[in-house]
């Protein structure tokens, strides 16, 4: 007796068998059990669970959304008139903040910042705690950005109109440093977000350089 092929049996999971196929399935227990196994396989595939994205995924996405202007600026930045600050300047401020944290010996994960801007370990036990932690981090971030602007002003750099090649070089440096940091702490959402921003800004700067230089880049 010639068995039905697996492909035919796979089709019969959805389709009604024709007369010949039906007769064979009645007589052949091997093919009947194989069809049942294929039906169970199909059912099992339909029951596969949803999958959680990797830890830190939101941080990377948030950074990309911000770099593409799809997330609105936070209220604090807008109130302080810093909402229009170029995103690469904000990134540099973030980097400064990160560097300060690293130098002060902060751990890589589960960081929070207290009101004075120093790094502190904290765990939010309620929504209010979490909101307060976010606000504190935001204040520290704004302080770092202002500090970065002052540093740039002292060195005579115009942050809003610096030449694209210098900007590209600076961003390339930031990418290298942040890649090294991510290698140290691959699961850290802050670092991953920072790296994603740096990569996006660097690529944008590269495109700008390419355009300004007649496409040689």
């Amino acid at each position: 007796m010639e068995h039905l092929t697996t492909e035919t049996l796979a089709r019969l999971v959805d389709d009604v068998p024709d007369t010949k196929e039906g007769a064979h399935l009645v007589e052949c227990s091997t093919c009947a059990s194989e069809l049942e196994a294929l039906t169970n396989q199909t059912r099992a595939l339909g029951s596969l669970p949803e999958l959680l994205p990797p830890r830190g995924d939101w941080g990377v996405l948030e950074a990309r959304l911000r770099s593409e202007g799809l997330l609105e600026d936070s209220g604090t930045l807008a109130r302080l008139g810093l909402a229009r600050t170029p995103s690469w300047v904000r990134m540099a401020a973030s980097f400064l903040l990160f560097a300060v944290g690293a130098v002060s010996g902060a751990t890589w994960a589960d960081r929070a910042y207290d009101d004075s801007g120093s790094v502190a370990m904290a765990e939010a036990s309620s929504l209010d705690d979490a909101a307060a932690a976010v606000q504190a981090a935001e204040r520290t971030y704004v302080q770092a950005m202002s500090q970065y602007r002052e540093m740039a002003a002292r060195s005579g750099t115009d942050l809003d109109s610096s030449d694209p090649i210098s900007r590209y070089a600076a961003l390339e440096h930031l990418v290298l440093v942040s890649q090294a940091a991510v290698r140290q702490a691959p699961g850290d959402p802050f670092l991953n977000g920072f790296l994603a921003s740096a990569l996006a800004e660097r690529d944008a700067a590269a495109r700008l350089v390419s355009t300004n230089t007649g496409g040689w880049f």
Binding site: H3, T5, T6, E7, T8, L9, A10, R11, V13, T30, S33, E34, E36, A37, L38, N40, Q41, T42, R43, A44, L45, G46, S47, L48, P49, E50, L51, L52, P53, P54, D57, W58, V60, L61, E62, R64, L65, E68, G69, L70, L71, E72, S74
Partner: protein, 198 residues
């Protein structure tokens, strides 16, 4: 599958998200990221690629949010964006390099018992492993039809093939999947592990 959103919160939340409100977007992400990640992960067949594809899907969705009119459920709309983003990324990757599926002996193993075991983590693990090793074209059709519940007409639209081609590919994919699961079972038996989930 439920949408995960109630009509009252739905409109308000989506309106805020389409304006770029970070909290609204985060809420959408928290609710739907497992579904988005699951479908792109299965299409990608790889964790690293899946993360990239999922990110791309979310960027596209947030960018397109102002055009969402509510004709379909948000989850359906988002799911379609995720599938398209993943398929497009896979096609791009294919132009760079062709992946070869591992060869599997052409055999029909009838020794495997037929008891289904839904919710069985071990079975899910085996199915996921076999899915990852399935040739790309077969995997796409199998995932869209058997995992995600697309019709052959919908698969035709998404993949740019006829419904007949989709149907034919599905039969081949199921058969291949069956062979691969049998081969996996054989390997496990050789290692002394009893495996008869399907």
């Amino acid at each position: 599958m439920t949408d995960g959103m109630t009509p009252t919160t739905d409109k308000h939340l989506l309106a805020r998200a389409s304006e770029g409100d970070p909290r609204a977007i985060r809420t959408l992400y928290d609710r739907f990221s497992p579904r988005v990640y699951a479908v792109v992960r299965r299409i990608a067949g790889d964790d690293d690629l899946a993360q990239d594809y999922a990110q791309e899907a979310w960027i596209r969705a947030i960018r397109a949010l102002p055009t969402f009119r509510g004709d379909a459920r948000f989850s359906t709309w988002l799911h379609r964006i995720a599938v398209n983003a993943a398929l497009q990324a896979v096609r791009k990757a294919e132009t760079r390099r062709k992946r070869e599926a591992p060869a599997v002996d052409d055999m029909m193993n009838t020794d495997v018992a037929v008891a289904p075991s839904h919710g069985d983590a071990f079975l899910q693990q085996r199915l996921s492993k076999a899915l990852d090793e399935l040739p790309d074209g077969m995997r796409r059709v199998l995932i869209l039809h058997d995992v995600e519940g697309y019709t052959h007409e919908e698969i035709g639209d998404v993949l740019g093939v006829t419904a007949g081609t989709s149907k034919s590919q599905l039969s081949k994919a199921r058969a291949k999947m069956r062979e691969m699961l049998c081969a996996l079972d054989g390997e496990l038996r050789e290692q002394g592990v009893e495996s008869w989930s399907i």
